[in-house]
Each structure stands twice: as structure tokens, then as C-alpha cells.
């Protein structure tokens, strides 16, 4: 009897497809599990399709439209059945939400499909705050954090207040804003390898600002930016702990950080 009741309750829950993103999948499973916990806590069922790989950004931003489109078709086919598609990354969500429809312009059938799909895509923190109206998370973190606004999330999806509001609800956590938190960290996908000297100049300004904030921990919502800043901080010998914002919001900070020493 109890079982049937649960099933009925479950059926009413929003069904969320988690698009883990390639960097989270390959480098930082903790972020994937943090996302699952946060979405479940918000009252949804989470599904993780095994057929997912990458959103196609590397190809897209390198001008390879044909491959991008092929990848996009596969992502849409894999995920369009869910009520929502959520990704713990501003740039990948933006790719799915803002850029996919344009890939199919003029293709009557696919364009409509891509548009319908895109309407259901959300970045993780924005999904929690804007869609599920989560006001507070059930987590504790003893320390001060500074938050870097990753570019795509900030400028393409308007994510800035949501992560800060949710972070404020974390027990024991203090936010110390850095200077120019909304300026690019110099990652830029293949940019950081192709124009490494310029990228280095940009990330060096960023790490200076991070250090100057006096925070113990650096947070951001994108693995690309995080790996870039973490890599630079490590090379500079900084002890600052680097984490994806989802890890802190989910209370999953018992893992080793991306850089620095866990407190």
C-alpha cells in the first residue's frame, strides 16, 4: 500500500534529465552527485542517460558546424523526453538553451524540436532558484567563500543573484566578494591553449583578485573556469581551496577539492 502511494507521488514529480557535461563526467564526479542531490532535494526525480557525452561547444566555437549539429541531434534525442534538462554548467546550459535552435534554422522539423527542447533546459542553480523556487539549501560549510561569475552563465543566462542567495542559506558560510568577479577568467575553451600567453595574463589578474578577497574558498559554476583558475592557483602555490558551487550547496565537501587543501 505504501509502495503504490509512493509511486503516485513520484509520478507527479518533475522528471529531470541530468546533463552532467563532459568535464564533470570526466574530471569531477562529485559535482554530478551534488547536482543529483540538489535536484532530488528540490522535489524532482533525476535520470542520467548513459548516451550523453558532450554538448558540442568545442566544435561549435571552432567553426565546425556540421559536427556540432550531429552532436546536438544526439543530445536532443537523448533528453527531449524529460520535463527538464539540467546541467551544472552555465556555458553548457547556454549552449543547449541559447545556441541549439540556431543550428537548425530553416530545417522545419528539427528547428521546432530544438526549440521545444531548449525551453526545458536550465543551468543547475538557476533551475533550483528560478524554477523550483528553492530559497534555502540544507547544508553547512564552515568558512568564507568568494564566487566567480562565469561568463556564459552570467551574460547569457543572467545567473548572478541565485548562487549568492543560496550560498547565504548555507550554515556557517560567509561570502567575501572579490574585485571584478564578473570579468572572464581567461579560459575560453580552446582559447586558453591556442593563446596561452594572453590567457595567462587574464587568469593572473583573476588569481590576484581571488587572493585579495581574503576568502578561504573559490567557487564557480563551470568546470572549465574552475580548472583554469585551480590550475593557476596551484602553480602559484596558493592554498585556496577550489570547488564547484554545487558541492558546497549540496554539503558534499568531504571530497578533495579541485585545488588547495580542504580545511
Amino acid at each position: 500500500m505504501a509502495d503504490t502511494h509512493d509511486m503516485q507521488a513520484d509520478a507527479r514529480k518533475p522528471q529531470v534529465g541530468l546533463f552532467a557535461t563532459c568535464l564533470v563526467d570526466l574530471f569531477r564526479p562529485t559535482v554530478g552527485f551534488s547536482a543529483v542531490k540538489l535536484i532530488e532535494d528540490a522535489g524532482c526525480d533525476v535520470h542520467v542517460p548513459m548516451a550523453q557525452t558532450c554538448c558540442g561547444q568545442p566544435a561549435y566555437n571552432s567553426g565546425d558546424r556540421a559536427d556540432t549539429r550531429a552532436i546536438a541531434e544526439q543530445v536532443i534525442e537523448t533528453f527531449e523526453g524529460f520535463d527538464y534538462i539540467v546541467a551544472p554548467s552555465g556555458s553548457c546550459s547556454s549552449m543547449l538553451k541559447k545556441h541549439y535552435p540556431g543550428l537548425f534554422k530553416g530545417d522545419a522539423r528539427w528547428e521546432a524540436r530544438a526549440t521545444a527542447f531548449s525551453a526545458k533546459v536550465f543551468e543547475l542553480v538557476s533551475f533550483l532558484a528560478d524554477v523550483m523556487k528553492v530559497k534555502a539549501v540544507d547544508a553547512a560549510f564552515d568558512g568564507s567563500v568568494t564566487y566567480h561569475d562565469s561568463c556564459s552563465g552570467l551574460r547569457e543566462l543572467g545567473i548572478s543573484k541565485q548562487p549568492r542567495d543560496l550560498l547565504k542559506s548555507v550554515d556557517g558560510l560567509a561570502i567575501k566578494e572579490m574585485k571584478d568577479s564578473d570579468v572572464c577568467c581567461g579560459f575560453g575553451g580552446t582559447f586558453c591553449v591556442k593563446y596561452s600567453d594572453i590567457s595567462n595574463a587574464i587568469v593572473s589578474k583573476k588569481t590576484t583578485n581571488i587572493d585579495a578577497s581574503g576568502a578561504d574558498v573559490l567557487l564557480a559554476g563551470d568546470m572549465g573556469c574552475l580548472m583554469n583558475m585551480a590550475g593557476k592557483l596551484k602553480r602559484e602555490g596558493s592554498k585556496i581551496e577550489v570547488r564547484h558551487v554545487a558541492e558546497v550547496l549540496a554539503g558534499m565537501t568531504d571530497t578533495k577539492p579541485i585545488a588547495g587543501q580542504a580545511k
Partner: protein, 478 residues
Amino acid sequence: MKLTSPQFKENSARALADQQLQKALLNVQKGFIGKRAAAAADLPEFDALRDNAREIKNHVLGHLDLYLEAYEKKVTEAGGHVHWAETAEEAREIVLGICRKRNAKTVTKGKSMITEEINLNEYLEENGIVPVETDLGEYIIQLRGEHPSHIIAPAVHLNKEQVEGDFRRVHTHLPQARDLTEPTSLLSEAREVLRKRYFEADVGITGANFLIAETGSSVIVTNEGNGDLTQSLGKCHIAVASLEKIVPTLNDCAQILRLLARSATGQDMSVYTTFSTGPRRPEDEDGPEEYHVVLLDNGRSAMLGTEFQEMLRCIRCGACMNHCPVYHAVGGHAYGSVYPGPMGAVLTPSLNGIDKAGHLPNASTFCGRCESVCPMRIPLPKMMRNWREREFERHLTPSAARYGLGLWAFFARRPKLYRFAVSFAMPALSLLGGTGRRIRSLPLAGGWTKYRDFPAPEGRTFLQEWAQRENRKQGAGR
């Protein structure tokens, strides 16, 4: 100026190592950004104006031929002359022809990017005519034999001390004891020298911020008033402008003007905004006897109807470069063309060919800050991506990158194969990280590890772990 865009990487390396330049570039980040933000915040209808401005320009670009014809008719009615120049050479010839007719020895010039684009100064000099730049920044870089590094602040790459040195070197007839430590004292120093030049000049050459079809007027905005003197003291005024500067009416012009200075310098308006309609009329107190407009195409009409048409909305405010982290790092000269920063990254390949300017649209992180501040709402990153697509189609993309990307895409399209491959690759990479979980050098990623460690992966992939967790759950449920 000579195009050095193909050497963008070498140019950038030099710029990054130039301490003086790095210090000067801090002014861009300190000055312009806050002032623009404050000016935009002070005007509640700022964003509405941007939408409107975009519509005005889109409309004009959709009917460019009609508006240009209407404009020409009005200029002619007012007693002026319109000259059509398809190429830079043609434009130079036309200007030289007018100067020759007037027997000109000296011409004064107001700040104009378009005359930089057509290399007018060099050409006039070669033909025995002395061009004198009258904008303070332009004057300084002319003294130094340089080119502008910014479209509204041509000498932004220099420090006050450098300028002082140049003035002391060149203005030897002025008293040595003079104070040249403040921008205002530098300005009056330049003014003193330039005053005479205005009266000597036979011809005054300016650019135009706008051309107005309704009235046949050309419009220039300056903060120093040098543009006015240039165009009204000489006997002949030549305005050189590119086709897309046209707007339909005075009212349209006024609306876009409200965006221009706010976006550029954070002022409500520039100090001087001057409308010129034809030569002086009998009842006018001053003004030139002759008025010419040289309308330059130089590749612009070829952008119409393409994915680059939107770039023609640009009003040259410079906000995109003021907010660009790449510009902040390397400055304007590294771009190696008249138009630096994000707008140059789109425009330069259009004007000079993607084969020569391929670095420019690639050297962007796509952070989107340029688009977020562009008063004309030009989707700059999107258009840089369009250039990357054209490069890719024409196989101009470096083959190593092409190959690497192709390989990634091959796996990304085949999830089963992808899973199989990464199940080996990630643990290996994780091991490489060792106990410190840092990778200090990685084959094929030298660009990364030159400056950064590579954070080691946790080991197993998220999907692997997830699948295992689900299996366990199902096992437990059975």
C-alpha cells in the same frame, strides 16, 4: 596603416612584456568601465534607446541605396559635392585631387579612423602635402610616428610621462620651464602649437560620426573642439565617411547620439557636436568655401545581406574594446589593424580578408562582455564565430586543431565508444596526477601546462559511478 594582424601572436607577446604599455592599459580598465556603467544607470531609457538605435540602423541598412541617394541629393542642393569611392585607393585619389586643385600645402585633420583605414596621411606626405593631426591623441601619435591603438582614445597606450617627453623633444621653441604634468597642460601645449596650423591650412579633413539623409548633413563629435576648427577655418572641408554612417533623419541621429558618448566615455554628450550642411552661405559668418564628402565603400557593401551585415550598425564608440579582457591584456596595436578589439575582430577580416586576419576572431574567450555593452546590440561573439566557421569551411583552421577536434567530435557522437575510451583514459590521467593530484606537464597541452597545473581527474567517471550506484540499488531492491 600596415596590416600586421597575421603577426597577432608575436605582437601580443611583445605587448605582454611591455611594462610601460601594461601600466597604460590599466587606465582603460579603471576609467572607461565605471563611467559607462554610471552613465547608463543614470538614464532609465538607456536600454530602450539601444533597441531603438538597433532598429534605426537595421532599417537603414535594409534600404541603404535609397538613403544614400537621398543624402547625395541634399548635399548637392546645399552646394556641396559627394564623391563615391569604392576602394581605399579611389578615396585617396579623390582627396588628393581636391587638395591639388586648391594648391594645398598643409591640411589639418580632425580625428578620423577612416583616413587611417585608407592610409591618407602617408599618401598626402608622399605627394608633398603636410597633414597635421589636431586631436590631442592623434597629434601625439603623429609626433611619434605611430598609429592609434584605440578608436576613441588613439594614444591610450601611452603614459603622461611619455607624452611629456615627446613634447619636450619636439616643441623646443616653447619655454622649457613649462609644466607638462597634467593632461590639461598637455592639451594647452598642443593647442599653442596647433593654433597656427589651423590658419595655415588650406584644407580641413574630418571624418563623420553620422551622415543624415534628411538634411544632407555630416556630423562630428569631439571633446576638444579641434574638429570644428579643422572644418571651418580652412577654405575647403573634406569629410571622409564610410557608407554605413548614414541615418535617415535628424531625430534618428539625436537618438543615437544619446548612446554614443555615454557608451564611449560615460559623458552625457561630447563637448562639441557639429552639424555641417554644405559650404558657407553668403549670410554665414564663417565656414569653408567648398564642402566635399567622400563616401567610402571599401568592402562594406559586400557585407550587406551576409551574416556580417549587423556589424555595419557600429558607431565606433569603443565600448567593446574598453570591456574586453583580451584588449586589456595586449592593447590595440597587437591587433595590427586600424580597428582593434572585438569590433575589429569582426570588421578587419571583412575589410582585409580572413586569410590575413584569422587570428582576430579566434583570439576571444567569448566572454560576451563586448556584446553586453555594445550600444548598437551587435552580437560580436556570434559574428566572430561566423568567421571561425568560414575559416573552418575553407580549411584555414590549423590542421592540428582540426584533427584534434575531429577526433573529439568522432567520439562525442558515439557514446558507447566514448564511454569505453574514457574508462581507460581517465584513470590513467588520474594516476599521472600522483598524490598531489596535479599534472605539471601534459603532452599536447603545452599551452595549458606552461602556465598552469592540470587538475587531475578523480579517476572514475561520473557516469560509471552513477551506473554502479543504480545497479546496486536495483540489486538491493530485488
